[in-house]
């Protein structure tokens, strides 16, 4: 179990974010402790993806406070946020068509020591080795997702922001991704995960934040999840 008593690794307070004129986030507050897997649950349009993008510095304008390792990052450019040790895996996976699998894998620069070595990556994801010279976007959806996660495990970033890694994938692949997230948690990575599918979230996470209309409206520990099902159904409309 992760240590949730000490200082959080990521501390987001009163986060507001805009895309152009649209005000998307209205004061989001979350904390993620070292070694935790935390999910953001919520319906489409609740602001989950925008929260990850705002942490990464990828929104038009943002306000509030985002502390990583006790260091304020709200004013930083996205490349400096990445250099501070946060890595991002976007919802559309962001595999580059003009790069082969190896080039995609090696693209993100190392930002800190302690990332997975290439041998470890290939042990976790043997397909990536077999298809090293294929064009990145020629991989199957599941393989592309593996590649998108594998490349950020290499960099030494300790906090991984994963945006719906299971979206559109077959159940057997979803299980593999679940196993992989548990594996990277066991290796000490910290994960903030956006999910629509709380049955999947339940198999990997320690805690769940529920978002609605650009705010965090609830927080549920994974052990309380079963007793809170009615509440969650109301939020998520499932």
């Amino acid at each position: 179990m992760a240590d949730t008593t000490g200082k959080p690794l990521l501390e987001v307070k009163d986060l507001e974010a805009w895309y152009g004129e649209s005000h998307i986030l209205h004061g989001v507050g979350i904390e993620v402790h070292p070694g935790e897997v935390v999910t953001l649950l919520g319906r489409n349009g609740a602001g989950k993806t925008t929260t990850l993008r705002a942490i990464m510095g990828l929104v038009g304008r943002r306000r509030g406070s985002i502390k990583y390792n006790d260091r304020e990052t709200i004013g930083l450019r996205s490349d400096l946020i990445a250099r501070a040790g946060i890595a991002y895996c976007p919802e559309e996976r962001g595999i580059f068509a003009s790069l082969n699998v190896t080039e995609n894998l090696m693209l993100p620069p190392t930002v800190a020591p302690g990332g997975l070595g290439i041998d470890e990556i290939y042990k976790l994801f043997p397909n990536l080795k077999e298809r090293a010279n294929s064009q990145g976007t020629k991989l199957s959806g599941g393989e592309q997702q593996m590649l998108a996660i594998a490349r950020i495990l290499r960099t030494g970033a300790k906090l991984l922001l994963l945006d719906e890694p299971t979206e559109g994938l077959a159940p057997v692949i979803v299980q593999q991704i679940g196993a992989m997230i548990r594996e990277i948690k066991a290796r000490g990575f910290t994960v903030l995960l956006v999910e629509q599918n709380f049955r999947f979230a339940q198999t990997v996470a320690d805690r769940h934040y529920v978002m609605e209309h650009g705010r965090v409206v609830d927080m549920v520990g994974n052990d309380e999840l079963l007793t809170s099902l009615d509440r969650l159904h109301q939020y998520l409309g499932v």
Partner: protein, 298 residues
């Protein structure tokens, strides 16, 4: 054998080979200039209409280095791209970087205007009659190839242009830096979120594209006279080459540049009246059949 060629095609062989060589040389300049445009367009999404003026600056800096500092051709090959490339970096920082979030049209108008200003300044300073630049001693003279005399300098231009084109292609396709460039061309935002300083990469890429134009300018100095219009005369054709090859395609700009130079040369032999327009006719046909260009992705 030469008689056989003449018998087959009905033109004297020296004329044919002479025009082929001229075509190859023009093609070398088309390729180098459209390559720089492709590199810049790929990452910056800006059609750099200043390119012709920067080519001209490359030639003028070579002339100034010789006339004012006594530094010859080989120094110019090194220093002129650095100086002109650095001026490009300043242009990007001060002007062009402000336009990335706007429509293409603004970049086009800005770079066209900058090009006209630069050309005007040089015309004011140096007049429009052109300044001579001598072929360096090591490269003067000609080889007797049996069927024609080949000026050594012209052979050198073709070889040097090929070298710069292939080197650029290798850097973009085979190196880590090139992988950053290709990825940022697809999705700059995500590459930056991986920790790469994309704004700096964009600035340096613009500088490198401009430096390529300057190298072409130095190569051109001894062939064409160094004059303020030398860029604008050439750049119109180069834009047609870019459209035919496919906007932003690296390989496309190299192959199309050399290929169209040769086509233009052959047209001079077989139908001289059409040689000035043949490239534009090809452009029209390509645009009708493949709007994204021969090597472009639709």
């Amino acid at each position: 054998m030469l008689e056989t060629i003449e018998g087959l095609i009905g033109v004297p062989a020296p004329l044919l080979f002479g025009q082929l060589l001229l075509g190859l040389i023009n093609g070398a300049f088309y390729a180098m200039l459209s390559l720089g445009l492709a590199v810049i367009f790929g990452l910056l999404n800006i059609i750099n209409f200043t390119h012709g003026a920067q080519f001209m600056m490359g030639a003028f800096v070579a002339w100034m280095l010789l006339a004012w500092a006594g530094l010859g051709y080989w120094w110019a090959m090194l220093l002129s791209p650095l100086i002109v490339g650095f001026s490009g970096i300043i242009l990007e920082k001060v002007f062009i970087s402000r336009l990335y979030k706007l429509d293409h049209l603004y970049g086009l108008l800005l770079t066209l205007g900058l090009g006209l200003i630069i050309e005007g300044v040089f015309r004011n300073e140096f007049g429009s009659s052109g300044l001579p630049y001598r072929i360096p001693a090591e490269l003067s003279g000609a080889w007797d190839l049996g069927f024609m005399f080949m000026p050594i300098y012209r052979g050198w231009v073709v070889v040097a242009a090929l070298f710069f084109c292939i080197a650029t292609w290798l850097i973009i396709e085979k190196t880590r830096l090139g992988a950053y460039l290709r990825a940022a061309t697809e999705r700059a935002e995500l590459v930056q979120a991986f920790g790469i300083n994309v704004p700096r990469m964009i600035t340096l890429t613009y500088g490198a594209g401009v430096a390529l134009a300057a190298v072409a300018g130095v190569l051109a100095a001894p062939i064409y006279s160094v004059n303020p219009q030398m860029g604008s005369n050439l750049i119109i054709v180069v834009f047609a080459v870019v459209v035919i090859g496919g906007m932003g395609s690296i390989l496309g700009s190299i192959v199309t540049g050399f290929g169209l130079g040769i086509v233009e040369g052959l047209t001079k032999v077989f139908w001289p009246e059409a040689s000035a327009t043949v490239i534009f006719v090809i452009m029209a046909i390509v645009l009708l059949a493949r709007p994204a260009g021969l090597f472009g992705k639709a």
